[in-house]
């Protein structure tokens, strides 16, 4: 009785094993829009463009790696900063494609947008051969991003409250200068020092430059770095408020900065500084 039941499950397991093998075959491919990439073609271009930093084994130990900071990505770990998917999940092919295309600002990784779409899609397929996780796991489901709420001073101020409450300032600093109390001690998952983003530089974010991409950065977290995911603790509507506030920390001409500057000139003295909570009774 019990045996037959287990036998049936064993049959299902066998079918699953077959499926697993099929999965292994599909891990040699990538799919971005209408394009399909294959790892064999990708390898040729990997050796042409990527090997100097990421190394022949994809472990980030290329000949240039010792001279580069931040270090090149180790593809064998299959942990990626820029994803549309929740923390702890594999990125989609589109995410990898976007990362290759966009490059990583302020690092040695240039935008590879000059390569043809086919070349980039093939590279994505090849990058996925470096870790067995691409065979055993599936990419996460992309985090849903609702339509952006209007940029208002209420939104920016609420975002500022979140910046305080979520303790973003502990790393990014009260003014967003990347100088919070924990900033100096941060290390990545390989125990290498890593600085938090300094908003006052105004440079593009590593994972993009649009408000949507900024939304995604703190909702998905940047895996492999100290930047955690806030998806469980910030509601989607509130997340836009945080986006709007973060924009005011950058020295850029943005709608958020305009709204903020106009408000601050008249209400600046109402602002409580960001930082450690003041004990009750301790005046400002």
């Amino acid at each position: 009785m019990r045996g037959t039941r287990w036998n049936r499950w064993a049959g299902v397991g066998l079918a699953a094993a077959v499926l697993l093998c099929a999965g292994a075959a599909s891990a040699q491919e990538s799919h971005v829009g209408k394009y399909s990439g294959n790892a064999k073609a990708g390898k040729i271009n990997y050796r042409r463009y990527c090997i100097g930093c990421h190394g022949p084994a994809g472990d980030g130990n290329g000949e240039n790696a010792p001279w580069i900071d931040p270090k090149p990505r180790d593809f064998t770990a299959a942990v990626f900063k820029c994803r549309s998917t929740p923390t702890g999940t594999l990125p989609t092919d589109q995410d990898l494609y976007d990362a290759v295309t966009r490059g990583f600002d302020t690092t040695n990784m240039p935008p590879w947008m000059p390569l043809t779409v086919v070349d980039r899609v093939n590279l994505v397929a090849y990058i996925k051969t470096f870790s067995p996780k691409w065979k055993s796991d599936k990419a996460g489901a992309p985090v849903e991003i609702p339509a952006e709420s209007p940029v208002t001073i209420e939104s920016v101020l609420h975002g500022r409250e979140l910046f305080q409450k979520m303790e973003c300032w502990k790393c990014h600093g009260p003014e967003g200068h990347g100088d919070g109390p924990s900033a100096a001690t941060l290390t990545d998952s390989k125990d290498r020092p890593i600085p938090p983003y300094n908003f006052s530089t105004g440079t593009r974010f590593k994972c993009g430059n649009t408000n949507r991409e900024l939304y995604r950065i703190f909702m998905t977290g940047l895996d492999g770095t100290p930047m955690p995911s806030f998806a469980d603790v910030i509601k989607p509507a509130d997340a836009w408020d945080l986006v709007h506030f973060l924009r005011t920390l950058q020295p850029l001409v943005t709608p958020e900065a305009t709204v903020w500057k106009a408000w601050v000139t008249t209400h600046g003295n109402e602002l409580k500084p960001i930082g450690p909570e003041q004990a009750p009774g301790v005046g400002q």
Binding site: G103, N108, P111
Partner: protein, 470 residues
């Protein structure tokens, strides 16, 4: 380029005595040009700055791929907010040298040599041996974010230096990649760069079409100052490109002195235009089509002082133009560069006639058509096979009959066929320096140009050497 070194600024160009020796000089000039020019610009200084292997920017160095093209179009910037020199180690200086110690053989057919009793006869001349190329000492990079520069002192193999290029460029004006302004001596935005191609020999190391000026007839040279679109020119260039450089344009306004310093000719300006569009063809790769034009004027005589021409006083400007279209086609590892060009020189220039004197009877403005197809088979980033066939056909000779004689100018006089084949092997593919073993054979045949008997001349080169840069 080195064409011009034959005419120092003080040379009375307009009064230059032109005879059979003119052609000989011309041929020697072409040979000199090829030997001393450094057609290649590959810059390990950039590899060192950015930590990318040569193969990232070069299909096979010095030939650029589209990634390298975008890097160049951006003003030597990757645009990762780390381009400004402030991010470099203070000790970093972007300097590159390139040289090619080599063994080569030159075979020149039907050369004029002295015969018995003061006659001239023709004889084939062959020479071979170990030799040096010229040297490029190249510095280029960014002075600041969106301000780039290049200075290239270049020497021939004897060590005589000149400035091959020197310019400053303001990149991404008004935040737009469509507006970049370059000021100084620069390579024209040629359809297929002669500075970055994969041929080095005396006969094959340049595009015939990029330097061709027709001769009026046997023993007659051209007055055209313009050395060719292959020569670096002095002026300003406005160029723009889409972010991935699929769409590109360039407009140069140039002093019409063929890149020579010291204002040697006159005050007029030339115009060069180039535009192209690339598109993706699936797995085949990137295809590009484009068109270009050079329109200029050149003086036909100079003011003189005691019979000597006064530099910068060129007079009697006459016009010339070069127009063409091209395509660069990829079939996976194969790629073809194809180019068609049509050219015209004013009759005064072609017949060597100062514009204040009447044209010889029966003279016309010569025209010609030409084209080439260059093939590369990039086996991998470390091995590339190259080949090129080039043809120039004079469609209208300056004269049908040489003035004062009954000598008919044959319709194919001065036509050129050129063929090159070779390979480059890069034993190391590295992000600090480059080394290539280069082997090439080139053959050029020019119709009816031998000086004594007006017969075809075939010249060939064989070269093998180590091409290295650091």
């Amino acid at each position: 380029m080195h064409f011009s070194t034959l005419r120092s600024p003080g040379t009375p160009i307009g009064l230059l005595v032109l005879n059979r020796n003119g052609i000989a000089w011309g041929l020697i000039a072409i040979a000199l040009l090829a030997i001393t020019s450094q057609p290649a610009q590959a810059i390990p200084a950039f590899a060192r700055k950015y930590g990318l292997p040569c193969s990232a920017c070069h299909e096979a160095w010095p030939k650029l791929n589209n990634f390298g093209q975008v890097f160049k179009d951006n003003g030597y910037q990757l645009e990762n907010d780390r381009d400004s020199p402030i991010f470099q180690n203070n000790a970093y200086f972007p300097i590159t040298i390139r040289m090619t110690p080599q063994w080569h053989l030159e075979h020149n057919q039907r050369q004029q040599v002295d015969g018995p009793l003061g006659t001239s006869i023709e004889q084939n001349i062959t020479t071979s041996g170990f030799d040096l190329s010229g040297i490029d000492i190249w510095t280029a990079g960014t002075l600041y974010k969106n301000i780039s520069f290049q200075v290239l002192p270049s020497a021939d193999s004897t060590g005589a230096f000149h400035f091959e290029s020197a310019w400053v460029r303001f990149d991404n004006l008004f935040g737009s990649s469509w507006l970049n302004l370059k000021f100084g001596k620069h390579e024209l935005d040629t359809p297929i760069s002669e500075k970055r191609f994969l041929f080095l020999t005396a006969n094959g190391g340049f595009f015939q079409l990029y330097h061709f000026t027709p001769v009026g007839g046997p023993g007659l040279s051209s007055l055209n100052q313009f050395g060719g679109i292959g020569d670096n020119q002095l002026g300003v260039e406005l160029m723009g490109h889409s972010k991935n450089s699929y769409t590109r344009y360039a407009v140069s306004v140039l002093s019409s002195n063929s890149g020579n310093v010291g204002l040697p000719t006159n005050q007029s300006y030339d115009l060069y235009l180039n535009g192209s569009q690339a598109f993706e063809a699936g797995r085949l790769g990137l295809q590009r089509v484009g068109a270009f034009a050079y329109v200029g004027r050149s003086p036909t005589y100079f003011l003189t002082d005691g019979g000597a021409a006064i530099p910068g006083t060129g007079r009697g400007d006459r016009s010339f133009y070069r127009v063409g279209a091209y395509g660069i086609w990829y079939l996976g590892k194969f790629d073809f560069s194809t180019l068609y060009m049509h050219g015209l020189d004013n009759a005064f220039l072609a017949t060597n006639t100062p514009a204040n004197t009447p044209l010889p009877l029966g003279s016309r403005s010569p025209t010609w058509n030409g084209g080439f197809i260059e093939t590369h088979f990039t086996v991998n980033p470390q091995f590339v096979l190259v080949n090129r066939y080039e043809a120039i056909r004079v469609s209208r000779q300056a004269f049908t009959v040489l003035p004062g004689t009954t000598t008919t100018v044959p319709s194919d006089f001065g036509d050129i066929d050129a063929f090159s084949v070779g390979y480059r092997w890069y034993p190391i593919m590295f992000s600090r320096a480059g080394l290539a073993w280069h082997q090439e054979y080139s053959y050029v045949r020019s119709r009816k140009t031998s000086l004594v008997n007006n017969l075809d001349q075939g010249n060939s080169s064989l070269l093998m050497g180590f091409d290295f840069d650091f």
